[in-house]
Symmetry: C2
Subunit: 431 residues, 2 copies
Amino acid sequence: MDMLQIIEAKKRGSELGESEIEAWVRGVVDESIPLYQSASLLMAIRLNGMTFDETWLLTRAMANSGDRVHYKGFPVVVDKHSTGGVGDKVTLILAPLVAACGVPVAMLSGRSLGFTGGTIDKFESIAGVTCEFDDLTLQRMMQEIGWVNAQPSSRIAPADRALYALRDVTGTVDSIPLITASIMSKKMCGGGTHLCLDVKCGPGAFMQNFDDARKLASSLKQVGILGGLKMAGVISRMAEPLGQAVGNYVEMWEAVRYLTEWPKTPLAELVMALADHMLKMYMPDEEKRAAMLMSAIESGAAIEALRRYLDFCGGDVRAIDQLMSMELTQEGVAVTSTRDGFVNDIDGYGLALCARELGAGRITQNDRIDPMAGFILEKQLADEVKAGDVLLLVYGKKAKSWLSQNRERIPALFTIGNSAIDKASIILDEV
Amino acid sequence: MDMLQIIEAKKRGSELGESEIEAWVRGVVDESIPLYQSASLLMAIRLNGMTFDETWLLTRAMANSGDRVHYKGFPVVVDKHSTGGVGDKVTLILAPLVAACGVPVAMLSGRSLGFTGGTIDKFESIAGVTCEFDDLTLQRMMQEIGWVNAQPSSRIAPADRALYALRDVTGTVDSIPLITASIMSKKMCGGGTHLCLDVKCGPGAFMQNFDDARKLASSLKQVGILGGLKMAGVISRMAEPLGQAVGNYVEMWEAVRYLTEWPKTPLAELVMALADHMLKMYMPDEEKRAAMLMSAIESGAAIEALRRYLDFCGGDVRAIDQLMSMELTQEGVAVTSTRDGFVNDIDGYGLALCARELGAGRITQNDRIDPMAGFILEKQLADEVKAGDVLLLVYGKKAKSWLSQNRERIPALFTIGNSAIDKASIILDEV
């Protein structure tokens, strides 16, 4: 199979066949195909698209490029995938909550190169915690504490690892077939039997309009079904940071608050909708599910599931206790509003850029994260604001020095209008 | 200037600006931009196109990436460019013919990696001839013999050298803006003040339909004008090998025949049309031009111009004499027709593949060419054939052994029909 013929076929708009797609993925993994040829093919796919059949064949070939995690003795294991966004701490709350209801949960998460840390960075903001395990340890973790969240080993979908890195530097990330293959190839290898999707839609998300979000959700669902997964989920609105906290430790702090106090917010609404889908997969009665979820929070089972996980991951006892008592090890520096009105818009992307400058995210793989760095928002979308009210608190070693040079930037990220706006539901559609 | 932003812009269909195109070309030449990013951009250009302004800016940036040849004391220097095809020996005939009429001619030609050799390989099939010279020698060559044909130095349009190699392996050769920039960037540096185009059209050419050939011709012409060149030329039909000979020495042999006997064939018609354009550039009277061209052949001035060139290039006297007397140093092996009829089609591409197997072309840069390898066609399009008639003669060291294993292949390249077909004119349009 000649790579040039594969490129020519896609360039001319033809459908690639099984042997072509498999030859490409094989050549990516064994590095026999030069990066410039894969780059050219990726752009041809980005511009000419892929049929559903091609998308499935690519996903399968990528899933087959490495190993699969398998949890022995667990016929049902639920997983969740979010397309991501600023302040997305859903996993930190959802995984222990669902596990506390007796449903085995397994998720593989990343250390992100994005603006704020990935889920692994958030867990690892607790002193002592590390989330890299071999397969035997994952199995023991599932048996002992009932849920797993870990950094995937390099043997999971190595084709995706190589192609994702290349897409990132060749302008070929924003392709529904390529996004689908990247996500689902890993999900087919992560040990889950059921997958709940959280496809974000809005100015702060990958998919900015509802039509694209639905297309992506449908593509993920159909490919997942062919991959042998039971699929469900939601399309959710991403119009502002998800919750009050943006950073790593501050997001853990907020997760604890949800697992104990369960404030009535859009984030709680989203977590509950996802948790409900994950339980529904084998508990058909809706009222029972709702009661069981609230009981897991009220009984302390949910927060206990998080504590046991952090303990398993090596978290030091004092740091876990500090987190559980919702202690912040430093005071936040307040930024106040200069005017009265209502929050009509919050620029989550701008906020994430600031968080990265504070040390909450990485620019290169080798950058060290400041676990405390980030924000806690005191005002969110549709809130009323008076001049002098605190808009947010800034955390991290660099908080004061950064603010002294960037004092104007934070208020500019809040659009304060004269008229009130409605709080819209965070759930836009079911998958 | 961030290469990723340039890729994103072209991917989304935006027009690239001067600073973006110049940053790309600079990064290609100094190798600061990785090949996979240029590959991705090339595919985005192939699929989303380039406006005329972008094409011109790319051409200019590529032309400015290296040095330019300049012939001091020659205010008019004519050049010719053909988009190429099997058996295209136009330069071998046209350059000495036009030079014999007193018009300075300068062409830079290549050693091709194609199926048969490039123009330089054809000249170098004469023992002793080499066509690589420094600028001072080119200047002396122009002064002493009135015309120049040489391999361009590596300092001519180095951006094109790098991009062409990358296009060749990324499926991005067939793009009118990229073809235009590649051709015209070199032509702007080759020392010519006037450029005559020969854009081929047909099954044996790059541009298979007339519309595409016209688009390419128009793009080349407009860019050339902005580049300061006086432009003219033709669109010519490429339905069969151009002339009888396909190879290297055999094409030199055929060139000598045209420069002395001027047979009335489509090839002669094409050479005459191009020569007429090249003279017209400063001799407006059509009848005088025709008379001057025929007189250059009849007087022996044209063949003398070729002899002096080969002598300047180091050709050994005996080899030149042998060529001039149209001696073939070996006998061709005949392949005959098995049926009666009329030649309705000749598969030039298939013939070129066979010629390469015989040793007339290279597969890698390091392959040695057998100068004698190739074919002389005894039957061409529309000719009547009787069973037993010779279709062509096979030449080269490997002729007999190759034929013993491939005897069936040659007749299969000739479509012999029952009904006669018309000989169509080789000139389709003026540029």
